[in-house]
Point group: C2
Chain length 254, copies 2
DNA sequence: GAGTGGTCTAGACCACACG
DNA sequence: GTGTGGTCTAGACCACTCA
């Protein structure tokens, strides 16, 4: 009787909110503009703050919003394309590769890395910390693991740690014969140390790029690079100028 | 007096929980095993259910848990490696490429896709829907856009829609000269239609792979493929057997 | 119908940035 | 200090799966 339309599958409020706000971002806001605070927005839409936050979280995940504690919520610029192509086959640190070395230590790698390196679980590796900056922003933090046995000359390097040692280690790497590399991308959440380098909170979504470097028939190095998922689009090949946002997709006609 | 240790930066409860549960998963649970329900777990750890859920969400995001409404929470198997390398340069649908065609329609593409295709905003395109299945599970849903003007022969195909038309369209594509492709990966959230194909809830995190196909000096096709971020690790090159989980990384000695 | 995860509420307090 | 987003609580109800 009263129900003219049967809401067979009621859409969650936060999903509907996300759509509404997303459309508002397209039409009424420009990049960098600040949104009303969460309490006001929640009141305006007649929902609890937690529900409003669920919608904002999704929009942030899609790279459309940027939220900073103590500051506010702003409209994010389009994601920047970051080249991670494997076409330029070379050791990390070769030439000018947009990474800056931060530190180097000697550590026993985590089990997963040891497995990739095909070393004993407790074998020592050099661990180089690097940071990738693009357009003035940190976009990725990397840990590069090199088995001590792969480059014995490294034991001769003076500095026990620090950026100087990191650069020296990378320099030694170039002397090995490069036989290829291997890459994988998956979703992860930022560890505390990575989050700090990337200016994000721990647990922030990141794209984890794992690279294996081969030399002399074995795995000579493994790199685990965590890219900010909110601000980065990883590009392979010459698609650096590619300009697409997933949210721009719409439902096609049914 | 009473405070022997100053908790300078108290770790969020959900973060600590995530760590504790993560360790428990490694030591006390095996793949496929079901966890206690959320209400019991929350009570056991002495936190609100919302807080417990925040921890579980993170673990699910990292591919360590699988939650299904009405069923329960289970320990997820390691992510499967899905090859998306660009080394095998060819048109989509060529040979046996692990995709199955589902449907084909004639639509005006979303603005972002039109931009990639370098077509007018309202130009018609063929839109092929494909599904990728790996190890018996759907891992990706794709929409492939081909400007009507790029392959005029397509207007002669009989079927107005359906898988038969999809296959016919792909067959026509093979006749064009292949000049290269372009790929980008970014984080997104599943649209309602993709979520349904992937057996996930709308908004679930996905890895969006955008590919441009070039022919005769122009963009002849654009593919937008959304991969389940929880179950997939995208591999480039011959790293299909790569076995790493990000969570396996640990803090290195400071 | 019982049990599960998913959504939602209306509060509270905390950590942080900035003037 | 004030205002922001981040965390947390203790409930409630809903949608789904399965016996």
């Amino acid at each position: 009787m009263g129900t003219t339309q049967l809401e067979s599958v009621p859409e969650p409020k936060y999903w509907h909110l996300k759509t509404v706000i997303g459309e508002a971002l397209d039409s009424d806001f420009s990049v960098g503009e600040i949104l009303p605070n969460e309490r006001d927005l929640a009141a305006r839409f007649g929902v609890a703050r937690a529900t409003l936050r669920q919608a904002l979280e999704q929009l942030e995940l899609e790279g459309r919003l940027q939220r900073r504690r103590g500051v506010g919520t702003t409209v994010a610029p389009p994601r920047m394309g970051v080249d991670v192509s494997t076409t330029e086959q070379a050791w990390p640190g070769a030439g000018q590769d947009s990474w800056q070395s931060v530190d180097c230590q000697t550590v026993v790698p985590p089990a997963a890395v040891a497995r990739l390196l095909e070393t004993e679980a407790d074998e020592q590796t050099h661990s180089v910390r690097r940071l990738r900056v693009s357009h003035g922003q940190p976009v990725a933090a990397e840990l590069l693991y090199i088995p001590a046995s792969a480059v014995p000359e490294l034991s001769a390097i003076d500095a026990p740690s620090g950026p100087a040692r990191a650069r020296a280690v990378l320099r030694e790497l170039q002397h090995l014969e490069f036989e290829g590399q291997d890459r994988a991308v998956e979703l992860g959440s930022a560890r505390a140390d990575d989050a700090k380098e990337l200016d994000r909170l721990p647990g922030a979504p990141v794209l984890v790029v794992t690279t294996r470097y081969f030399s002399e028939g074995r795995t000579a190095a493994v790199s685990v690079a965590t890219y900010r998922a909110d601000t980065c689009r990883l590009t392979f090949g010459d698609s650096g100028d590619l300009e697409i946002s997933h949210h721009d997709q719409e439902r096609r006609a049914s």
